[in-house]
Symmetry: C2
Subunit: 433 residues, 2 copies
Amino acid sequence: MTQPCFMPLGDLMTKLEDGELTSEAIVRSCLDRIAEREPTVGAWDFIDPELALAQARARDGEPRRSPLHGIPVGVKDVLDVVGMPAAWGDQATYGHRRPERDAPVVQRLRELGAVILGKTAVSRFGFWWPGKARNPHDPSRTPGSSSSGSGAAVADFMCPLAIGTQTSGSVMRPAAFCGVVGLMGSHGWITWANSRDYAASFDRVGVYARTMAEARIGYTQLTGRPAPAPDSRRLRIGLYRTHQWPEAKPYVQAHFEASAERLVAAGHVVEEIVLPPIYDLMWDAQPVIGEYESYRSFIWEMEHARDSLVPGLEELLLSGKSISIEGYNQAIDLMRSLRARFADDIRGFDLIMTPGSEGEAPAATGVGSNMFIRQWMMTTGPIIAVPAGTGPNGLPLGVQFIGRPEDDAAHVGRVAVLAEVLQGNTPKGSEPV
Amino acid sequence: MTQPCFMPLGDLMTKLEDGELTSEAIVRSCLDRIAEREPTVGAWDFIDPELALAQARARDGEPRRSPLHGIPVGVKDVLDVVGMPAAWGDQATYGHRRPERDAPVVQRLRELGAVILGKTAVSRFGFWWPGKARNPHDPSRTPGSSSSGSGAAVADFMCPLAIGTQTSGSVMRPAAFCGVVGLMGSHGWITWANSRDYAASFDRVGVYARTMAEARIGYTQLTGRPAPAPDSRRLRIGLYRTHQWPEAKPYVQAHFEASAERLVAAGHVVEEIVLPPIYDLMWDAQPVIGEYESYRSFIWEMEHARDSLVPGLEELLLSGKSISIEGYNQAIDLMRSLRARFADDIRGFDLIMTPGSEGEAPAATGVGSNMFIRQWMMTTGPIIAVPAGTGPNGLPLGVQFIGRPEDDAAHVGRVAVLAEVLQGNTPKGSEPV
């Protein structure tokens, strides 16, 4: 029999429901997988097998609270989990912290009866400096940052779902590089409270799964909203290259065009969309807000733990310090304006399609770029990255779909259909032969 | 010469600028006032004269950073201030906490060179149970909750500006009962991060001042936005009684009508506005969101410090626990819908005018009601309470003005004009004879 860790989420849910599997058996399988693969992948900042198994046994002894009852979920180590350290990827500075309150998404997972498997690895402070996690498809490569461990753990069959967070590109980049789905609803879709903030105007929770069908379950359960039906219409997709297009590797450009052709072949309409010139400003404006707010979030470290800052971070924070409140307000006003007008500016289209990254995952000495990701924080709507085949080195390449602000359920229903088409040749990574 | 604590903010700014006053002299005057009046008013949870004076001397030795440089400001004890306890009105449970990071509004005050005078008293946990603060106009009465100390301190000339917070009615109620201006921009106008959250969908920072002209300075400085010019047009004011109108004391009803007549006499247009029936839902929906989120914010207390919960709070939290996520989502969807349509639904009007409270401040064994306040959290736009005379016992009565979401500057500019009319007979409270 296939080990539970390799089973699709839907199968696990059915087998738990039918009594064919226990949560303990699933968690044990995930822990075995982690024991085997963790030395190579490094996806976890904190894992305590006994704590995970104790949760699983407790869930097995209770009435099922939800379809996710008994399902193990990894949580990025920037979100507070009671009973686990909140180290933000920096054991030396923060390893002693034990939060008193769960982050809201963790509370929700507990209400659903999910098992909090452990804290997934994060690049230190959630910034771009490489952490210990490696890309499970090629351990010499990065899984992307900063939700590095969440992307890698799901891709490597260590858990079926994991929670990540994004301020600029931290959910979408690991999704693209690890070949998994990364799903975020509109800003605020899941409350960000009581955990460490980076830039409150952007900070968002995201969910990882190996397929869009599984991510859709995560969306439905986390939000308590009805399952969005796959949108069965012929969808109108706005293909948007952005002015970073020339920076994409030629094989990414070719892959992106080919992905569009596959969607057309499946009966959808893909047309180049031209956005008004104001959208050209979003790429530069995003870091104005991000750095301004991050500096203010890191004043304690600047004053008391400057040595703990990873290279480049101090410069970023000082850059944030140098931004005037007028410049910041201008960027905030742009964001509000785009949020208000985006639905209308893409009229005639159901969603926007962009490349997920500029290339395959680079060497693990870096974390790759967010050049196709960060600007979409400015429209504040749902973003979903789906795996869509591989590049020249056999590593995953992804496509990103941008929806209208607060139109999350419809967006999920649409991407569910498109992902079916694109996932045809998704690499299976480290799946056992 | 008038003591600095009694001077209008504009005069203090000018005298600091001109070198006629030092920050130290102003802070000393405020501290003298506090020493004299605190036994009666109880407006402070934490004040350390030496800490305040040290800040003032440091500011006096520096180049001026802003018009608020050297001005003392009180900060409600639910917002984190480095160097001061974060006790949330409960010394026994939380008096030991010393936050590592300032709340964003406190960071901003420090950037402006303001002196953080101390932490103002809050009803325990920011809920409605009466705290130690008393109404400076009549110490047998409540100043309202939960920003009790901020409202009372400003009304009693202990500081020219104070920061409060509101989840349901906690800025506007003390403003109405203490006869001061309470100003809040749209939800998110000042980032709420890192401090204790109550209900993240609503939690907002507000600023108190004795006059609208002073509150306008606070708005301008805190946001870094250009000073909104007083709107010199003949304003169209939508008079909205709400279906709580019959609950208002007859003298409030008469006062409200008289306030409207004064605005008409000043050349403005006041007309009854009829809002679509969907607005009837907002009063009941607000606590659904508030209680659902507050329960999740207070799980630690429910499990570890249940005895510390004030009477009624446990019931509120259990009520929040019993709300289904579907019911919560329905209320959230209503809020989003109202936020999106409110500007259009009040077309033809510049703003909405409602009573500020159902009566004068009641006895200090209670804190009064938020029945005219809480529903406006559902439209998410700017809210400003201005003092508008007195009731039968000579205690303040206020009027509340509601603006379009994210139209904060224009709203401030409009209320600046209306407040001039209404403040004609504001009681001067404990001003020296």
